[in-house]
């Protein structure tokens, strides 16, 4: 429930500064991954979930974000994101 909107409360976001410490590996597609994935969560979710997913596993994760969590990721960007994740954080 979004009480923020209902009551105009202040949102506690002190962790936003800390998550800036997270540095993903350099590689093709990194800006795309940063821009899309960090909309909803810090990028350490990617690091934490490595290295045990294969390309299919990462594809399933990205698709879950789109289909279940409603992430507005452009269909054209999906393979590029999955490629980056698999290349840098894949099994």
């Amino acid at each position: 429930m979004k009480l923020v909107v209902m009551l105009g409360l202040i949102v506690a976001a002190p962790v936003l500064a800390d998550e800036a410490q997270v540095a993903l590996k350099e590689g093709e597609g990194k800006p795309l991954v940063e821009a899309n994935c960090s909309m909803c969560h810090s990028l350490d979710y990617i690091q934490m979930n490595s290295t045990f997913l294969d390309r299919q596993g990462w594809e399933a994760s990205v698709n879950k974000m789109i289909k279940v969590m409603g992430a507005p990721i452009r269909p054209d960007d999906v393979p590029l994101i999955v490629d980056y994740l698999n290349r840098n954080y894949g099994k």
Binding site: E19, S38, M39
Partner: protein, 409 residues
Amino acid sequence: MSFARRRFLVASAAGLALGGVRPFQALGADPALRTPGLPDGALDSARLDALPGKVPLIKRSWRPPNFETPVSYFEQAFTPNDAFFVRYHLASIPEVSAQQWRLQIAGDALDKPYELNLEQLRTSFEQVELNALCQCSGNRRGLSDPHVPGVQWGYGAMGNARWKGVRLKDVLARAGMKKEAVEVVFDGADGAVLDKTPDFVKSIPVWKALDDNTLLAFEMNGAPLPHWNGYPVRVIIPGWTATYWMKQVVSIQAVSQAYKGFWMATGYRIPKGKFPVVDRFTTQETEANTPITEMVVNSLITTPRNEQTFALLQPIEVKGLAWDGGYGIVSVDVSADAGRTWRTAELGTDLGRFSWRQWRFVIPAPRPGIHTIMARATNRAGCTQTQDLIFNPAGYHNNVMQRINIQVA
């Protein structure tokens, strides 16, 4: 500018400014961060860091905040509030003041919906206190073999506390619950960043909602709940995993139809028939799976630590905790030879069937060499821990017996 977009920009700007420098890298050596069996990326990305009002905990993710309690805190019977683990699914977490907080009690299976403020909740019903373990369904997920995606918890996504509050059944009774009620649905003040993300909403069967031990708690270990643990009020479902213990609860609905939101219909499900659990959640069951309910019997060795060394002829004290879904722990057995022989440990004070129970065992004078210490708890229902992982895709209910290796030299 939308709320979501604004937060995103703040995050990116900060990322640019700091350039990903890792000031805590040296802490990688801290034993709390070296849980054997976690994925390499989870070990690398863990940090010891403090959320506001908390001591340094093991950071699994910054946003939403997921922070694990180091095992050293589990040497105490009650987990300090400022060391209690933090688990969120969604990143929009409002700071709720006691003055502004309101609880809606509604739903199609209630006659007289009403609203309570905090003072009314505290003073209109009998207050009760209860010791209960709060354990994330996915505690130890990071030890799953093969690994499964999700927050890669080690042993510390749990904590034991003394909760004070009022009974949910009393709050519901005032609203006149109809006989058609099948589930009670909880919603907290937190929300998603994107409108399309399913809000974190959970339901429990009506029989569990009417249980004397199911509480709406406003105190934890004699103090108000920490913000990160649900201030001002959270739901306490003793014996059941923490997914149902809604933090910052603002809405409770009694409903005549099973609640089918994502976090019930899809999330937090276990395969049917694989785990020795008693409590069923029949309105949510499908052919293949069912919502997770009570905790399985489990134990934790808090001391010695893995790879600790001991001098010859020195007795070694083994200590730990054991718990289950509320039937009660009847025994804990300890092995100092990798499970070949077992001896009975001494149980500590019984703090109530929903609390964990401390235990200890002394190994008189082990021979030189490497010894593997194991512990195995048994509950009143006759259930014990498993030797081999009962694999499930979400990594729930991991009660594999630990193996702690020590060296005597």
